[in-house]
Symmetry: C2
Subunit: 240 residues, 2 copies
Amino acid sequence: MSIPKKLKERYTWFKQHSSHEDNTSLAFEIISMDRCGLISEISTKIYNLGSDISFFQSWTEYDGKCHIILQVDDKTKPEEILKSIKEIPEIISIETTSTNKKTWGKRIIIIGGGAQVSSVASGAITEADRHNIRGETISVDTIAVVGENEIASTIDAVRKLHRVGILVLAGSLMGGKITTAVKSLRAEFGIPVIGLNMAGSVTKVCDLVISDPVEAGVMAVMLISNIGKFNLLKVHGHKY
Amino acid sequence: MSIPKKLKERYTWFKQHSSHEDNTSLAFEIISMDRCGLISEISTKIYNLGSDISFFQSWTEYDGKCHIILQVDDKTKPEEILKSIKEIPEIISIETTSTNKKTWGKRIIIIGGGAQVSSVASGAITEADRHNIRGETISVDTIAVVGENEIASTIDAVRKLHRVGILVLAGSLMGGKITTAVKSLRAEFGIPVIGLNMAGSVTKVCDLVISDPVEAGVMAVMLISNIGKFNLLKVHGHKY
């Protein structure tokens, strides 16, 4: 099976890129009363200062307050940005903060049935520990889902997460719409996929098939870690 | 130990709130060439249409393209929003999509040493599977971290994630700055914390202390799930 061009490019970049290489960014944490137009006003103020927003996340909490984490690719104007945002009357607090990327690093996503997601996670977390101690930052995020449609739409949604290094499919039977979703995630979004050695057509479109769930989790970490030279492009298409 | 007011309020809201109750929102996925001012322009166009952005996430991918997921609390204007955003010359694609909240639901965060994070995750993932089959959506997100400063700053960063239901501390010894970080997360951000029964001062400030890691993971799911009546406020301060 061939490697989609986009996957090869994205993977090569992701592998080389340590999660700690984030020294050109400046992040801010803002808590504000919510009102229509708040994001527009904040982002326009930053634009007017000439800074480019490289990451932005906002959500409304249970008490109606708006929480914002934003990152600019420009370390030269922390005071100007703080001063300018504070002029908005609804702002409760704004402070500089570490970036989400620095804390949570690269993500491994594990999707499938509970028993197997647990086993893959056990391998991935234990191996991530060994890499994180040596300076990487790898987090392991999981969801247990049942049903072809549900699993397919969860795989589709992986592209809407940032910092995803690799997806592991942990199940006993996956095919149909799931296979279509895996094809699209790999070709259109460049995210590599490991599958357990399971029934169904999905293993035909995975980058790597691994029979043992703990090994699949360990391998997922080794494949995306900046520590060590093991590389997906060397083992692509293999079944272990 | 008393329960902070904010924690009681946020927990009560979170518990009652099913992850699937998201029928008033409309989400869009945008891929665009990146340029300074893009977020300002998109959010201003939505503001000018009178819609309130309730969730916004943007990041730059390896190829320099900007990916945006945004959600408005207004289902009435999908066509107007699509048309208006498409006028921006850099936009490559925009389509309506399901919300991240609907796919990934409520989050359990597990932080600590590899061996124990794995065990807690095993309990949490297996129990989440049982709740997700019955209509909940609970995901389990983990990171293995070593060192007092590193664990404390990771706990501080939990407030910068959205949809967090509960934090589980999985380790053998936690105190000092970690205890301070837990106090702040609970009192200022209302996020409950389960601790394993470990050495150090942290267990004195946790909402619940559980000796068995698998049970701690299972309990974390039961405490935030909308299915079943088990409630943190009933067992608060206990040690099992």
